[in-house]
Subunit: 119 residues, 2 copies
């Protein structure tokens, strides 16, 4: 998995377990592209304090992933659900299906689409 994608997924999955302050600093640095100096001024803490917070949060997110493995699971399940989609696609394209069969396969596709959105 791409490093930035993984970082983003880690944050997506575990940010609710962080404190408000940890979230704010982490987001300002990684998502809003603020510098350590800018965050330091904004939060009223030292640059070193900002740096330590970002490092600690990054480590925390990694620890949660080690324990719960949600990003890894998400990655696997996304691949699986995409595979299911591929099979339904080939069924529709390469087969002569009657109305009922087509309906069943489209129903599978709809479930797959929901799963990809909400996983």
């Amino acid at each position: 998995m791409d490093k930035i994608v993984e970082q983003t997924l880690l944050y997506d999955f575990y940010s609710e377990l962080l404190t408000k302050k940890q979230k704010k600093i982490y987001e300002d640095y990684f998502m809003n592209d603020l510098s350590l100096a800018e965050i330091s001024e904004q939060e009223g803490i030292s640059r070193q304090g900002v740096y330590d917070s970002i490092k600690r949060t990054t480590k925390l997110l990694g620890n949660y992933e080690e324990k719960l493995g949600l990003v890894k699971k998400f990655d696997k399940n996304t691949q699986r659900v995409n595979q299911i989609y591929k099979y339904t696609h080939s069924l529709i394209n390469e087969s002569e299906l009657d109305q009922k069969e087509l309906q069943d396969i489209k129903a599978i596709q709809e479930i797959v689409e929901t799963m990809l959105q909400e996983m």
Copy 2:
């Protein structure tokens, strides 16, 4: 969802976030059916201490679920994957499928089975 099933799922999903001691007491009480007195003697802490630990752990698991919602997600996704399985089943039973179509549908079923085992 059944209360006991939910309790078990909560523990399945979040026990890695508990301390060893919290896990031991919670498991002895709920899974191994030991009494407060038995656990108290075994752990060398008061009955009240055992009771407090169980209560605190139960609350912690609930808090994690509020934040991450893994049990809810698991429940939804299990339903969805089971629905996919039902559709593949009806396709196989009610249709005249050629070799290639049957192969694709069986492939979907295999993925679904893996997902149900590992979700």
